[in-house]
């Protein structure tokens, strides 16, 4: 196999970081319902963690979530709705030192799952300069937490 030349490799990473848009693919989560419930429960702020008490302890309703930028409507679970509209705008929602995958997930959720570039994601999670690492993580064969290119 022809080895990738250093400069060309760097160039590819730059193009990937600037052009490819990533989002949370909820169809990935649809196949993992239990995991989805547990994970979204962990995203709740302290106040709502108490309110919802235990994972799976409440009736799961579907509710309209309207993308504030485009007006598009998505029917989502009520816990997810609370995370998007309340918990994601609380201070400390993306704590320093949090795992990169979780930080990216939280950043995308806070932005209404609007597809974002690696550059923008790196900025949002406070990891400017680590774009190539984020790209490797999100662009690899294994899908983490439903994070995929659009």
């Amino acid at each position: 196999m022809k080895p990738v030349i250093g400069n060309q490799h760097r160039e590819n990473i730059e193009i990937g970081a600037e052009e490819t848009l990533f989002h949370i693919d909820f169809s990935w989560w649809a196949l993992r319902e239990d995991e989805y419930n547990t994970y979204f429960h962990s995203l709740l702020c302290d106040k709502h963690q108490n309110e919802f008490n235990y994972v799976g302890d409440h009736e799961r309703n579907l509710i309209d979530w309207v993308n504030p930028h485009t007006g598009e409507v998505f029917l989502i679970d009520s816990v997810e709705y609370i995370v998007r509209t309340h918990c994601s705008i609380q201070e400390g929602y993306i704590p320093e030192g949090m795992a990169m995958v979780d930080s990216v997930f939280r950043a995308l959720l806070a932005h209404g799952n609007q597809p974002l570039t690696i550059k923008k994601l790196a900025y949002l999670i406070g990891r400017v300069g680590q774009e190539s690492t984020i790209l490797r993580m999100l662009g690899g064969r294994k899908v983490y937490k439903g994070l995929r290119p659009v």
């Binding site: 309207v66 504030p68 930028h69 485009t70 007006g71 974002l116």
Partner: protein
């Protein structure tokens, strides 16, 4: 193309360039505003203008459709809708249902069959502005969404846009930039020669005190209504800047005018004593010990000095060039004590003698790295080379308190530079010392004018730094029984005849086999 108001396309951002009608638009805006705008204000206005152009282009492309989507409107089945914020997506309403979220109040959800055969749902009939940017969709919202977007873009990429737009505007000769503010040159208030003469007279009568532009406007009787003040200040600054009679001597963020003719001539003379021609040397010839020794001398021409953010008083050990010039060094160690300026080459300050409370006019020469105005104090307290001087911050950066450690005069044997028939040598001579000094740095000079002449001769005859170091080293070695020479002493005496940073001296000592480092900052001749 802008995909979404909160996340402009990266290509759009990077390919951003001003169009010819942007300039006309800007001139029109400045004309309407009647006051100069900062670079950031201009960037936002121009971004907003380009965003509007993009939006109009997008709307023009959708003329075949019934409606442009907006969440506050209502729609009926069969209507065709255009979505400019979704990359120009078009679709047809196929069904309508009630909204399922009490947070948004009463609203409907339309199901759209898009032209790519997908079905998507959109909110409609949202009476209250629940959506954070509902006015972005083209409704008649009271806020200005394009401006908010432009501000957000600038916030996300501040340097990119400011640098790009600034460099493009600088090429456009119709605009003038002063201290980060812009205005069309043709619209400036005409400040004629008569007003400039009055400004000169006002500064002349101010007893050597610099005046702000507002003060000058008042003095020359140009103060008018408050809403015209910014433009008048800008216009007067522009006129004064172009006239050689005036010089801006204010620190960063403050414009203070002074008459060029009233600046002390001695400052220019001082520059001659302090001028330092860098002597090339190999960084590798300096060991870590040598670098640390050089650092301790705090020379203003030392290279690669990294200092932490300093605060509070600083003690400097006076070198001969500063004693001769009546100045203090403006180095990385003392910079926090004095004002800096973006435009003014020299900044006017007040030096306060801590012992008597006397105030003296001082000047910070930024480029030349010195603070002028100490000569009266050096004379008053019989200061010699090697004296300790403490500089303390004043009430603000325009004031510095200078403290010279005074002692009862004692007669002591000190190394003295003597000059006879163009020959120079060192001797221990009895000298009266009445100020606190660092022993290693003390050098006495009996006649400064002789030293001036010697320096001229050495330069004129092309005597190199190596020769001077060799000569001074030999002279200093004679003065001690062991023949050891302290680095600081050599630095101090070499600087009497040639302004040299310590690195150049240490590089010569380190690379010349004639010198041997014996430790603890001492050197001796190799056997």
């Amino acid at each position: 193309m802008i995909q979404n108001n909160n996340s402009p396309d990266i290509d759009w951002i990077e390919s951003f360039a001003l169009q010819s009608d942007d300039y006309d638009h800007l001139i029109h805006l400045l004309l309407e505003a009647g006051t100069p705008w900062s670079t950031a204000e201009i960037v936002v206005a121009l971004l907003e203008h380009q965003l509007l152009r993009e939006q109009e282009k997008s709307v023009n492309e959708c003329e075949d459709w019934d409606e442009v989507y907006s969440p506050d409107k209502t729609y009926t089945s069969g209507q065709t809708i255009h979505f400019p914020l979704l990359g120009g997506l078009n679709g047809e309403v196929i069904s309508i249902r009630n909204g399922e979220n009490p947070d948004y109040g009463e609203y409907k959800v339309v199901q759209i069959l898009c032209e790519d055969d997908t079905t998507r749902e959109f909110a409609c009939g949202l009476e209250n502005n629940y959506l954070t940017h509902s006015s972005e969709f083209g409704s008649n919202g009271r806020s200005n969404p394009l401006r908010e977007t432009a501000q957000q873009i600038l916030k996300d990429h501040p340097r990119l846009f400011e640098d790009k737009i600034e460099s493009e505007l600088l090429e456009y000769n119709d605009l003038v930039r002063l201290s980060g503010y812009w205005f069309p040159v043709d619209l400036l208030v005409d400040i004629n020669t008569g007003y400039l003469n009055l400004a000169e007279a006002a500064l002349d009568l101010a007893d050597g005190r610099p005046l702000s532009t507002k003060d000058l406007l008042q003095e020359i009787g140009m103060m008018t209504r408050e809403n015209e003040e910014a433009l008048l200040v800008f216009s007067l600054n522009y006129a004064l800047q172009r006239d050689e009679r005036f010089e801006d001597v204010g620190p960063s963020g403050q414009v203070l005018w002074f008459l060029t003719a009233m600046k002390p001539r001695d400052i220019v003379v001082s520059e001659n004593y302090l001028a330092c021609d860098p002597v090339g040397y190999l960084q590798e010839s300096l060991t870590e010990d040598m670098k640390s020794l050089a650092l301790k001398l705090c020379d203003e021409f030392s290279e690669n000095i990294e200092t932490q953010d300093k605060e509070g008083p600083v003690e400097v050990v006076l070198t001969y060039p500063h004693l001769r010039a009546g100045t203090l060094p403006l180095s990385a160690h003392t910079a926090h004590l004095f004002p800096s300026a973006l435009v003014s080459p020299r900044v006017r300050i007040t030096l306060i003698d801590a012992l008597s409370g006397q105030s003296l006019p001082g000047w910070v020469a930024l480029k030349e790295r010195f603070v002028w105005g100490m000569a009266p104090l050096y004379k008053k307290y019989d200061v010699i080379t090697g004296a300790r001087i403490t500089i303390t911050p004043g009430t603000d950066l325009s004031e510095s308190v200078v403290s010279i450690e005074r002692r009862n005069p004692i007669k002591d044997w000190v190394r003295t530079l003597l000059i006879e028939d163009e020959r120079y040598y060192l001797e221990l001579r009895k000298c009266s010392i009445s100020v606190g000094c660092v022993e290693e740095n003390i050098v006495n000079v009996e006649d400064m004018s002789d030293v001036d002449a010697l320096c001229e001769d050495l330069l004129h005859n092309g005597v190199t730094l190596e020769n001077i170091i060799e000569r001074m080293f030999r002279e200093l070695a004679k003065l001690t029984p062991q023949g050891n020479v302290h680095t600081y002493t050599l630095y101090s005496v070499v600087n009497v005849v040639r302004r040299t940073p310590p690195e150049s001296i240490l590089a010569e000592l380190g690379s010349n086999l004639a010198y041997l480092y014996v430790g603890d900052a001492y050197w001796r001749h190799a056997a």
